[in-house]
Symmetry: C2
Subunit: 222 residues, 2 copies
DNA sequence: CGGATACTTGATAGAGCTCAAGCTTGGTGG
DNA sequence: CCACCAAGCTTGAGCTCTATCAAGTATCCG
């Protein structure tokens, strides 16, 4: 079982280029945990004592704003590190909340121990620094997208990203989509309806198929 | 002169808790540079080969979006690290552009050398990781602010932040304010006018004084 | 079948953007 | 000292996009 943990860490987004000995030490810290769908993993404001590496399933990290709207910051699927950034500030609190969107298997690692280990190993430090820097750049892109492109563009981009080839893609609930796109469920419903009426997509029981990829690309501003 | 560089680095936001020997090594890498007001320091998309520590003056890091609007991501005053994040991704390009808002003195450090040094020294790595994590949290807060609070709130918050006591504060141009607040110059003008008419502030030749701090606090949602 | 949950849709309001015109201001050169 | 210019500021009008509220409808599950 520690071997399985090591294997996962070796492939994880944050630690992938670390030395083998570092991977083993990290694996020794890892505790597996099973999360049922809907489980609250941590809550914004709690002391950030652990970080998580997703093995299977899907976690959602989101921030709730004062007026009750939710913004999804990241979705963490297999191999993704969750709460990695918060865990690297001493005495930090989580800056967002996290719930399991599906039944998930995760590795839980103690934040302080990982921090120590990371600072001690040049290779590991480099991997984590690179990971942080990349996440930062991603966040900037996301921010710009949310601020400067309209909902048509964001939804179109999302659909294009989620639909690898022209297979159907099962939509999450409108609330979840809204949190991802930075809007409200009603608007998601309307926009999906418009796309359908304009023959850009087909919709059947929450499963989308793209009909006119070019049109979506245009809407997405690509 | 290297002593002055070391002194600055010792106090800088990113490296402040590093070991003295690390500081000396960083200082050895540092090259002073003078930037006239308005100078372009680097441009979004260029290979990120250097990072900057501000000694005196003020740098602005901003992103230009497709439709020509500008968003100021950070203002770097004395002791601030600029382009720190981009510099930590190998072969990265700058994710934003940087210009000097005032005549400035900066230290220029080679990104690759700093990266190497940082990964080698546990104390330095820890300092930088912590700095990155903090910046990440700040960025999240900023993002939420831009997404979820209205312009009144953002402008009120900005005025409160910029005016330490009830001294006057010299406004930058409306374009610069707009880039800071994520809007357009016309709206900055309108809102400032409204605040003035409602006796929240006085305005005299681009110098603001807060009259009704409580009202601004309320608008800012504090 | 009943109830909960989620989705859809209309009406309405409001914030923010754009365009365009006119106005200040500060600096420059005659 | 004044006229003039450029840059930046102000302001009105119109418009688009998004949010909100509310009512009605589908869907799922026990």
């Amino acid at each position: 079982m520690p071997e399985r943990a090591a294997q996962l860490l070796r492939l994880s987004a944050a630690f992938q280029v670390a030395r083998e000995s570092d991977v083993r030490e990290l694996a020794a810290l890892a505790r597996p945990r099973t999360l049922p769908r809907g489980a609250l993993v941590f809550r914004q404001g709690e002391p950030a004592s652990s970080l998580y590496v997703v093995e299977t399933g899907l976690l959602r990290v989101s921030r709730l704003n004062a007026s009750g709207r939710e913004l999804t910051l990241m979705l963490g699927g297999p191999r993704q590190l969750v709460a990695g950034v918060s865990a690297f500030v001493q005495d930090a609190t989580y800056s967002a909340s996290c719930t399991a969107l599906e039944d998930s298997q995760v590795l839980v690692l103690d934040a302080a121990a990982v921090r120590q280990l990371t600072c001690r190993s040049p290779a590991l430090a480099e991997a984590v620094l690179t990971y942080f820097a990349r996440r930062h750049a991603d966040l900037l892109t996301r921010m710009e997208d949310l601020l400067f492109s309209d909902l048509n563009a964001r939804l179109a981009a999302h659909l294009l990203d989620q639909t690898p080839c022209s297979d159907g893609y099962a939509l999450p609930t409108n609330s979840e989509l809204a949190a991802l796109l930075g809007t409200v469920p009603e608007l998601v419903s309307r926009k999906l309806g418009e796309f359908y009426r304009q023959r850009h997509i087909t919709l059947h029981r929450r499963s989308v198929r793209i009909l006119d990829e070019a049109a979506l690309q245009r809407l997405a501003g690509r």
